[in-house]
């Protein structure tokens, strides 16, 4: 199976002889170069954690943010092209607003995810546009549905998860995540795990100067999605740094 298109990879409307749409695969490569983003779902809380590697001395601390609030209780984190991310965040917000206009309640996350996935998928169908170079993770919590976590790939496929990861250290993060049992964790434990995972998968050689960002929504936030909430972010960062120094003694 050839992994280089050569002739069948110039437009999203062409299949290769072995049934792949190479433009979508190439779009995924852009996602793989991005800083890691993870989503983890606990007992009554969901945490999105981002390894922010676009860091420049001249930037403010909130530059190049990759976590967005879509609705009061819905958060979204992206891996991939930032410009595409801002655009899709806006689409998601419009979807949520339209739903609220019609049904006068917050959009259920599964429905939002289906709509946004459909939108992203539409861009993989035509040669006149390019696929989004984006992997999107949605998180929400409410009283009826509890904690919810969904991820959308650049191809437009989406699944629900207990824990998911995207970006540079996706494989590594997944390996780390398998060591934990998130489903029973309290909010504090979940937050700390998020910090630990991000700090551990961070590439110290190339991306030592990274910024840790976190989105959290759950019972303890009263169902409101917070980005970089002071006390919980602090908890996560401390846990992450502690885990890093502990590991530093035993070489990974």
């Amino acid at each position: 199976m050839s992994t280089i298109g050569t002739g069948y990879d110039l437009s999203a409307s062409q299949f290769s002889p072995d049934g792949r749409v190479f433009q979508i695969d190439y779009a995924s490569k852009a996602v793989e170069k991005s800083g890691t983003v993870i989503g983890i779902r606990g007992k009554d809380c969901v945490v999105l954690a981002v390894e922010e590697i676009v860091v420049d001395k001249l930037y403010e601390v909130d530059a190049a943010r990759r976590i967005f609030t879509i609705e009061k209780n819905i958060g979204m984190a992206i891996a991939g092209l930032m410009a595409d991310g801002n655009f899709v965040a806006d689409i998601a917000r419009q979807e949520a607003a339209n739903f609220r206009q019609q049904f006068e309640r917050t959009i259920p996350l599964k429905h939002l995810c289906d709509r946004v996935a459909g939108y992203i998928h539409a861009y993989t169908l035509y040669s006149a546009v390019r696929p989004f170079g984006l992997s999107v993770i949605f998180a929400s919590w409410d009283e009826t549905d509890g904690p919810q976590l969904y991820k959308i790939e650049p191809s437009g496929t989406s699944f629900g998860y207990y824990a998911c990861a995207s970006g540079k250290a996706k494989q590594q993060a997944k390996t780390e995540m398998e060591k934990y049992k998130f489903a029973d964790m309290s909010t504090d434990e979940l937050v700390q795990s998020g910090g630990k995972i991000i700090y551990q998968v961070n590439d110290e050689v190339n991306n030592k100067d990274f910024r840790f960002e976190m989105g959290i929504v759950g019972r303890e936030t009263n169902g409101v999605h917070f980005i970089n909430h002071a006390s919980w972010s602090q908890l996560a960062i401390e846990a992450g740094k502690a885990a890093k120094t502990a590991d530093g003694d035993n070489e990974i």
Partner: protein, 286 residues
Amino acid sequence: MFRNQYDSDVTVWSPQGRLHQVEYAVAAVKLGTATVGLKNRDYAVLVALSKPPSELSASQRKLIPIDDHLGISIAGITADARVLSKYLRSECLSYKHSYESAFPVSRLITNLGNKMQTTTQRYDRRPYGVGLLIAGYDEKGPHIYQVEPSANFFNCVAMTIGSRSQSARTYLERNLSDFINCSKDEIICHGIHAIRSSLPNDELLSKDEGASQLNITIAIVGKDQPFKILNEEENIFYLNMAKKRGASNIISKPEGDDDDNSSPGDEPEPSTRRDPLVAVATMENQ
């Protein structure tokens, strides 16, 4: 290796996951002359270097006012900048008409980014070949934003774009911690110093500003200060002030000798000076 095949349309991803057309558009910014944006607690300042195409003509306008609380400086294709500034002006005006208050800067820039994103995704559009530095002031204080042709935008403490901006960047990084507490005059002088390091070498040697072909234009916006491009007199006033504060504080060579002419108000030099660190935010590292 496969670059040439994948770089003619903006709708084509390369096998490495890059959008070459967008990257080429970003390169267009480096063709424009340098411009610097920086801010202190109450003011945001833009300083631009402009070079007339010939001795007989006036130089290209680099600073464009958008609204009372916002203005931009451009580097790249001027025609594209005109389209964007028309959009920004109409958005600000429309907001003012609806809400009778100034458009919060961060939201305006988010809208601009989303508008520019569509040009990076459709076959019948091309990215805007211009980089913008926005200086704005709203209830949250002064802001400096950098907007790239890739539709990425960054909230900055200070920033520089355009050709030969690397030395200006080094100056900014070195003096970053001083900016927040500067006075209005000091921050303008910092901007002038930063941009002077982007001058080509032969211009530097002629300390006489009259002989220089290059124009420095300055704009300021902030608390009780609507966006204003300084006029001829004010320009000269600040250029002279900057000269007095350390005209040799220019980084054309790696070690600038900033020990002469440093007046008491300046930052303490010797032991605390860091080596210039080059932080390059590439488009690929998202």
